[in-house]
């Protein structure tokens, strides 16, 4: 035994946590010690705060300037930002399956639940900072003047909270789909179909007619509701009591279910 071997303290993690600390450390470093985190922050600021600034500027003088700008912001957040979550989620696992790095790290003392959870925690945290917290602070300062203090920090936090829950839904969905498929097409297709089916009137009409209960159990009503303007984000933005919390609870449960299925599927994956 060499001197350094004698000094080294072996890891003693057991069960599903085996390898979690190492893998999570690596995932967090990939977010914040490479360009990825800063690029995401910059993109979020440009897309969310930039579009809000443009809308506020173009509606200047109008009585509905703030209302129009915040509605446009919430629609952007509901329609386009899930794309980022899906892209990050699928890349996390599919990218590693394709490159062979997944097989490499899984040949080390790393349990598969820890592998999936490290991706989820790091991406979830990264998206929270880049796409919810940071732009949320920006939105507050952008609106505090024009809205004359109408949008309190709590209201903004409420809107960004449901926005983040929506992102988490698509992140966990993409992670789960990436454990089932080996190409990006189905992961992207299924996720986007789910993201856009609810808000798009030409698809939502038959859903409203034949399966309106889907709006209660999927995240569609969290941010956008073109038909009845009952999106929960608008209630939160205006400080009104929520008509229902079922979509919030259901979305959170979906996130847990998707994660559980991703772990189960990953545990059966062969390399």
């Amino acid at each position: 035994m060499s001197t350094s071997e004698a000094l080294l303290v072996p890891r003693r993690e057991r069960g599903w946590r085996m390898g979690l600390a190492s893998m999570l450390g690596k995932e967090l470093a990939a977010w914040w010690r490479t360009r990825r985190g800063w690029v995401q922050c910059l993109m979020a600021l440009l897309v969310l705060n930039g579009s809000l600034a443009l809308n506020l500027n173009s509606n200047k003088g109008s009585t509905n300037a703030v209302e129009n700008a915040t509605t446009a912001l919430i629609i952007t957040v509901g329609l386009w930002v899930p794309l980022v979550a899906v892209s990050l989620g699928q890349d996390s696992i599919l990218g590693e399956k394709h490159s062979g790095t997944a097989a490499w790290v899984l040949s080390k003392p790393l349990r598969r639940p820890a592998y999936v959870l490290s991706k989820l925690i790091a991406d979830g945290l990264g998206m929270f900072v880049a796409w919810a917290a940071l732009p949320g602070v920006g939105v507050y300062f952008q609106l505090v003047g024009p809205a004359d203090g109408y949008f309190t920090p709590l209201r903004i936090a409420g809107v960004m909270g449901v926005h983040y829950l929506n992102l988490l839904f698509f992140l966990t969905l993409a992670l789960m789909l990436a454990t089932f498929f080996n190409s990006r097409g189905p992961v992207l297709g299924i996720s986007l179909a789910l993201a856009w089916a609810g808000p798009m009137p030409f698809i939502s009409d038959p859903i409203q007619k034949y399966a309106s209960w889907l709006y209660e159990i999927l995240p569609w009503r969290l941010l956008i509701d073109f038909r009845s303007n009952q999106a929960l984000a608008m209630y939160l933005a205006n400080g009104r009591p929520l008509p229902t919390v079922t979509p919030i609870i259901a979305t959170a449960l979906w996130c847990v279910l998707f994660t559980a299925v991703a772990i189960w599927r990953m545990s059966r994956e062969e390399f």
Partner: protein, 322 residues
């Protein structure tokens, strides 16, 4: 470090089927501690499949396997704590440097202290000759450098068993030589189980050999025993001139059991298999010169090497398969 004398790797009827295709037929193999075991077979023989089964990267369709006496399915976590693995086509996170890659690998095995981990990383980089490239991103590494990094990451944890899948595949002759040197140095600390196509390397460093063909075990044992497999004495004879006459005289001898001819640059060479070595040594040259008009350019006894044995074993195994 393992001190037990029970096999490090032991499988009983270990089998794997992918979508109805049997990639590995029931396999019984044993690898003894502190040995270097060469795992040979043509492409698609089932070598990588066996390695993946041992590491828990694939699930067996049948049979059982043990590494350090631990079940490869139920106790794989404990196995992976004591194994170092280099895959056939090693891939790493390209944004990481070699040092970061080794630090990351070491973090799966050790929680500290930081200085000792750094020392181990530095030792490992030195061992594979990557110390001067330690802080360059892996993205810019050549195939050979990635292979060296692969060997480094496989043994950063002082493994009791090193599993190397084609460790010298993408290396130049110097790189191959270095890898074999590293393996020789590690022999006293660990058991090495490695697959390769480079039979010269196997003959140079291995104690035991396992040969697989079409997903089936063909032979296993100490390298001396395998080299003695179907051993026949053969001679090489190269002549210039009347080769037809020489060939006719050779074929007429009862102790000549086989004759393979190769012509090159106006010269004719034969590989002559004989049943009586002494007689051949005494008579082959005079027999060749007997008719006149012939010059002998080369003559010698040819020792069977691992490549001959491997090719013969695989040929025979394919013949039985048909």
């Amino acid at each position: 470090m393992s001190t037990s004398t029970s096999p490090v790797i032991e499988t009983h009827g270990l089998a794997k089927t992918y979508k109805g295709v049997q990639a590995l037929k029931p396999l019984d193999l044993q690898v003894q501690p502190n040995s270097i075991c060469g795992f040979l077979g043509p492409n698609g023989a089932g070598k990588t499949t066996t390695i993946k089964l041992l590491l828990g990267l694939a699930r067996p369709s049948g049979g059982a396997g043990k590494v350090f006496g631990l079940d490869i399915v139920k106790e794989n976590d404990q196995i992976r704590r004591r194994v170092g693995y280099l895959s056939q086509d090693p891939r790493y996170y390209e944004y990481m440097t070699a040092r970061q890659t080794l630090r990351f690998t070491a973090s799966f095995f050790y929680e500290g202290p930081r200085a000792a981990i750094e020392q181990r990383v530095a030792e490992t980089l030195d061992l594979v000759g990557l110390a001067d490239k330690a802080d360059r991103p892996v993205k810019g590494f050549s195939g050979g450098e990635k292979q060296r990094l692969g060997i480094a990451q496989a043994q950063v944890n002082y493994p009791d068993l090193l599993i190397l899948d084609e460790p010298a595949a993408s290396l130049d002759p110097q790189g191959r030589h270095d890898v074999l040197d590293v393996m020789e140095r590690l022999r006293k600390h660990t058991t090495i189980f490695y697959s390769t196509h480079i039979l010269d390397d196997v003959q140079r460093v291995s104690d035991t050999v396992i040969i697989l063909n079409r997903g089936e075990l063909v032979t296993q044992g100490p390298i001396e025993d395998v080299l003695a497999w179907g051993q026949t004495v053969s001679f090489t004879l190269t002549v210039k001139g009347d080769s037809m006459g020489v060939e006719a005289r050779l074929r007429s001898q009862p102790w000549v059991t086989g004759l393979e001819e190769m012509s090159r640059n106006g010269r004719v060479s034969w590989r002559i298999q004989v049943s009586d070595r002494e007689q051949a040594e005494n008579e082959l040259v005079s027999l060749a010169l007997a008719g006149g008009g012939v010059t002998i350019c080369e003559f010698g006894c040819r020792t069977q090497n691992l490549e001959d044995v491997f090719l013969n074993i695989v040929k025979e195994s394919n013949h039985e398969y048909k």
